[in-house]
């Protein structure tokens, strides 16, 4: 061939050309094999593992977005709103769209006040979020702030005003301890909450009904299946499951009665409980002072929180459930029942009150509140005039074991079972309790003062109200309840005559000629039975009622005794129980009884 001859002539040997030809073949085969292997590799990915990768591509593309449910409303027994969801506006920033975040924040500060806390929360959240997500800077804007921001928004790129629903308590401090409040979900909440239901939620019930009935109130998060790009920006909604809203919750509480009870306490710190005897339904539950629960919804400021903590009346303390008080003379009807049941006394048993009581062989004397004593008294008069001597003697004859047994039947020493978190169980002293607590034997003198509700014994207002309901119902009542109704039970079984005798004694407290609370009789619109009591704060345990009240007025307020009253009405067919504790009120008769009368009248006025 010409070309071969020519190329050979140019210095390429035929051998060299053959050598290159052979290598060409090898190289072509090599390249084809590699291309085939690449094809095989792609076939494995595209045909073999296709399903797995297709699923991964969908996972990439599609993400679930949680939608928050609307929280259930809390209503009173007549469906008046106690906790609602109010539309509010919050200021949000999309960092990606703000040209200069620092500058934007600085300019915003001129329009709306932004606190240190808010600024810090914004920064924490923006670190955790993607740049196109809107991050709230300030929630619950007021109308003027919304208006100001709306006018200046065009100069603030990336800033937006976003509507949302926020929890609101229209009655403020009136239901602070009862309804409670919701607050931001924190790490501890996260641990106990079901992650799925709370995926989109920011708030959870922290106290009161809001916490107790969290499950019903909250509802469940809904979901949106959305198509997103790699930065997570939502491109379109593929599918939507609406959130399941929380259930509305109707309380047994009556708003008007609650307001009346709160008002009746006046300036006293204290507690008022109104129970329905037959059902145990709670019609009013006041712990005063309250506080504005709305402060906690958006995160309370340090200044406000410290103000609440340092207030001398401790507004954050829920006295109804956690306040432990000496029952004082309010214990006497229960001691009387124990005495009747044990046969130690009959309704007609008489005791002579000299003003001084002494245990045989002891020098210590126990006084009566009336100087010189009450003279000869039977059970009715002993209750009406709150004669200590009668109950000193009765207690000694009963012994501590019989007393504790009786009081235990009325539920003292254990939580009353109210459907609110944080109930205190009080103290019901027994021999074994004292041994366990102080490693000491029970002394006879301690039995004496237990007879007039002093010493170790501690009750909470809700316990005292519950025990009074059992007393009013002649042994029958149900556990106190804010929502629904518990099964009525027979807590105590006594001869009807005994119940009758004690009821009559308690009626004489209010309506008898010498009853300690006789002053309230004229203002009552119903015949009421009850018992006054005074819990010791300072001074001798037995000189704390009646005449000494005048001296109490001269003491500084924080040393004055707590005033107690617990009673029921109508006295013949008891329907309602009212229990009042007025801290540092001085005397049960002069302070607590009139409050109870006002509350009872209010209860009748609202049709209870």
């Amino acid at each position: 061939m010409i070309s071969n001859a020519r190329s050979a002539g140019m210095g390429d040997s035929r051998m060299a050309l053959n050598q290159v030809s052979r290598r060409f073949h090898v190289l072509v085969v090599f390249m084809l094999i590699v291309i085939a292997l690449l094809g095989l590799r792609l076939a494995l990915l595209q045909l073999g593992d296709h399903e797995q990768y297709a699923a991964q591509a969908d996972d990439n593309r599609i993400s679930l977005r949680a939608l928050p449910p609307n929280r259930g409303l809390i209503l009173d027994r007549r469906s008046r709103v106690l906790a609602e969801n109010r539309p509010a506006y919050r200021l949000v920033i999309v960092p990606e769209r703000a040209e200069d975040l620092e500058d934007t924040l600085a300019r915003l500060a001129d329009l709306v006040p932004v606190s240190e806390d808010e600024r810090r929360r914004f920064e924490q959240q923006s670190e955790r979020s993607r740049p196109f997500e809107s991050i709230p800077l300030k929630s619950n804007l007021d109308d003027r702030e919304v208006a100001r921001l709306a006018t200046h928004r065009h100069r603030l790129p990336g800033v937006d005003i976003e509507p949302y629903l926020t929890r609101h308590y229209p009655h403020g401090e009136l239901f602070a301890h009862l309804v409670g409040y919701v607050g931001r979900i924190d790490t501890r909440d996260r641990e106990r909450l079901e992650a799925d239901r709370y995926r989109a939620s920011t708030h959870v019930g922290k106290t009161g009904i809001e916490r107790q009935y969290e499950t019903q109130l909250h509802g469940s998060a809904g979901f949106e299946r959305v198509e997103t790009n790699a930065q997570g920006r939502v491109l379109r909604v593929l599918e939507r499951t609406d959130p399941a809203p929380g259930q509305n919750l109707q309380l047994n509480i009556d708003l008007d009665l609650q307001r009346a009870a709160y008002g009746a306490l006046g300036d006293y710190a204290g507690a008022v409980v109104v129970l329905e005897v037959e059902t145990g339904k709670v019609r009013a539950l006041v712990s005063k002072p309250g506080f504005d629960p709305n402060l906690f919804v958006h995160g309370i400021s340090h200044a406000n929180y410290n103000r609440l903590l340092e207030h001398h009346q401790r507004p954050l303390f829920n006295r109804v459930l956690s306040g432990g008080y000496e029952p004082g003379s309010t214990i006497k009807p229960f001691i009387a029942l124990a005495g009747l049941q044990a046969g130690v006394i009959t309704p007609d048993t008489e005791v002579f009150s000299t003003g001084q009581f002494r245990l045989p062989g002891h020098s210590r004397t126990y006084g009566d509140w009336k100087r010189g004593g009450h003279g000869r008294v039977d059970l009715e008069l002993a209750l009406a005039e709150s004669v200590n001597a009668y109950f000193y003697r009765l207690a000694v004859e009963l012994g501590i074991d019989a007393i504790s047994r009786e009081l235990a039947l009325f539920g003292l020493g254990r939580a009353a079972g109210l459907d609110l978190p944080g109930e205190n169980s009080g103290i019901l002293p027994t021999r074994s309790w004292k041994r366990a607590t102080f490693n000491q034997a029970w002394f006879p003198g301690e039995t004496v003062i237990t007879g007039i509700g002093q010493g170790f014994i501690v009750v909470t207002p809700i316990q005292l109200a519950h025990a009074t309901a059992a007393l009013a119902g002649r042994g029958h009542t149900a556990e106190p309840s804010l929502v629904g109704q518990r099964e009525p039970v027979r807590m105590v079984r006594h001869d009807d005559a005994y119940w009758q005798a004690v009821h009559e004694g308690m009626e004489a407290v209010v309506h008898g000629p010498s009853g300690t609370a006789r002053a309230i009789a004229p203002q009552l619109n119903v015949r009421m039975a009850g018992k006054t009591g005074t819990a010791q704060v300072f001074g001798r345990p037995d000189e704390s009622e009646g005449i000494e009240e005048r001296e109490q007025d001269e003491l500084p307020e924080f040393l004055r005794n707590h005033a107690l009253f617990t009673g029921f009405a109508p006295s013949e067919e008891p329907r309602l129980v009212v229990t009042v504790v007025a801290e540092h009120g001085g005397g049960g008769a002069s302070v607590a009884a009139p409050i109870a009368a006002t509350v009872m009248n209010a209860a009748l006025a609202v049709g209870l």
């Binding site: 010409i2 070309s3 020519r6 190329s7 140019m10 210095g11 390429d12 040997s13 051998m15 060299a16 050309l17 050598q19 290159v20 030809s21 052979r22 290598r23 060409f24 190289l27 072509v28 390249m31 084809l32 590699v34 291309i35 690449l38 094809g39 590799r41 792609l42 076939a43 990915l45 595209q46 045909l47 593992d49 296709h50 797995q52 990768y53 297709a54 991964q56 591509a57 969908d58 990439n60 593309r61 198509e227 997103t228 790009n229 790699a230 930065q231 491109l235």
Partner: protein, 367 residues
């Protein structure tokens, strides 16, 4: 005898020293590639136009290179190589670029000397080997190895591993085609394997990361591994027939990195499925076969070695890119030849095909 228009066109192209078959195959590839590019580039026609301008420039370079007489090429080979090497040295001292120094700033335009070396090194080696008895003796082999090692070393320190591999492979290919003895080939392979730990120690941290993530992409699912994972998902989710043109969710929802440049093959695989992949691989294979046929027909060893190396370089581009996209090779910044967006490699590759066609056109005396 009146010829058909097709024959007339083919004759016209042959007169321009272009091979009608190879040119047709390249144009089919470019046409299909433009479709994929349109999809990958967010349906920007402007992007496609910019690419077409570059390809037209490449075609012009191809036409020009095809006219260069082999004698001139041989004569200029040492000078061209020396110039390219000098520029690579200059890059070390005066180079510009982000992260890696790869460019020379010549005032009016920026120039990447390593790109010129892809042509200059095979040219120099082919010129060196031509006329020598083949297989080459050891002196020639050592000299050739030195000519390869110098530019490759300079490119590795830029650092640009992808280009270093391409330049090295094109040079090695010339030696291989010249009949480098098998025992030497395997011996060198053994030495390289033994030196692997040494190479590892001298790699840049980002290069080591790429190899680490290649071995275990899940170790850094949001970092370096992201590219490999998302690319494999794109390819695998395409299935047999693909999601349809413009319908690839991985490509269009920004999961796939660099969808219009290095990872464009993943877009193709996602949208056109295995059928599209097989068709494109077949097209590449046809181009390579036609190219190797043309190379094998060249008049002398110089032409065959040079043309063969050019086709092989085209193959290396393909294999490295598809291997990377399918997760079979580490992530190395090598584009899919003539399909990925970008002008540099397209011009170099088309110039290479210009050499192949020009050398083939002089397989025997003409006129």
């Amino acid at each position: 005898m009146s010829a058909s228009p097709g024959t007339l066109l083919a004759d016209g192209l042959r007169r321009l020293r272009l091979d009608p078959w190879l040119l047709a195959l390249l144009l089919v590839l470019i046409g299909f590639g433009s479709l994929v590019l349109y999809s990958a580039g967010e349906q920007s026609m402007a992007l496609v136009w910019r690419q077409w301008v570059r390809l037209a420039l490449g075609m012009a370079v191809m036409l020009f290179v095809a006219q260069l007489p082999p004698r001139l090429l041989k004569a200029w080979a040492p000078a061209l190589f020396a110039a390219a090497l000098l520029m690579l040295v200059a890059v070390v001292f005066f180079g510009v670029g982000r992260g890696a120094q790869r460019w020379l700033d010549l005032g009016l335009l920026r120039f990447q000397p390593s790109e010129a070396m892809k042509l200059a090194l095979p040219l120099a080696l082919a010129a060196l080997l031509q006329g020598k008895p083949l297989p080459p003796d050891w002196r020639t082999v050592v000299l050739a190895a030195g000519l390869i090692a110098l530019p490759v070393g300079l490119i590795v320190i830029q650092p640009d591993l992808g280009t270093a591999v391409l330049v090295g492979m094109s040079g090695a290919c010339v030696l291989f085609l010249a009949g480098l003895r098998w025992r030497l080939i395997f011996g060198l392979g053994g030495v390289l394997a033994a030196a692997a730990p040494l190479i590892w120690l001298n790699l840049h941290e980002y290069q080591r990361d790429r190899i680490r993530t290649f071995i275990d992409p899940e170790s850094a699912p949001l970092g370096e591994g992201w590219n490999i994972i998302q690319s494999k998902i794109a390819v695998g989710s395409g299935g047999l027939s693909g999601k349809g043109w413009l319908e690839g969710s991985q490509s269009h929802l920004e999961f796939l990195p660099e969808p219009h440049t290095d990872f464009i093959f993943a877009v193709l695989a996602e949208e056109f499925g295995f059928i599209g992949v097989a068709a494109v691989l077949a097209l590449f294979a046809a181009i390579i076969l036609r190219g190797m046929f043309l190379a094998s027909q060249c008049r002398d060893t110089f032409g065959r070695l040079l043309a063969g190396a050019m086709v092989f370089m085209f193959f290396v581009y393909l294999a490295v890119n598809v291997g990377m996209v399918s997760g079979a090779l580490p992530v190395v910044g090598v584009p899919l030849p003539l399909v990925s967006y970008g002008g540099t490699s397209a011009v170099t590759l088309l110039a290479g095909f210009g050499l192949v066609m020009g050398l083939y056109s002089r397989r025997r005396f003409m006129g």
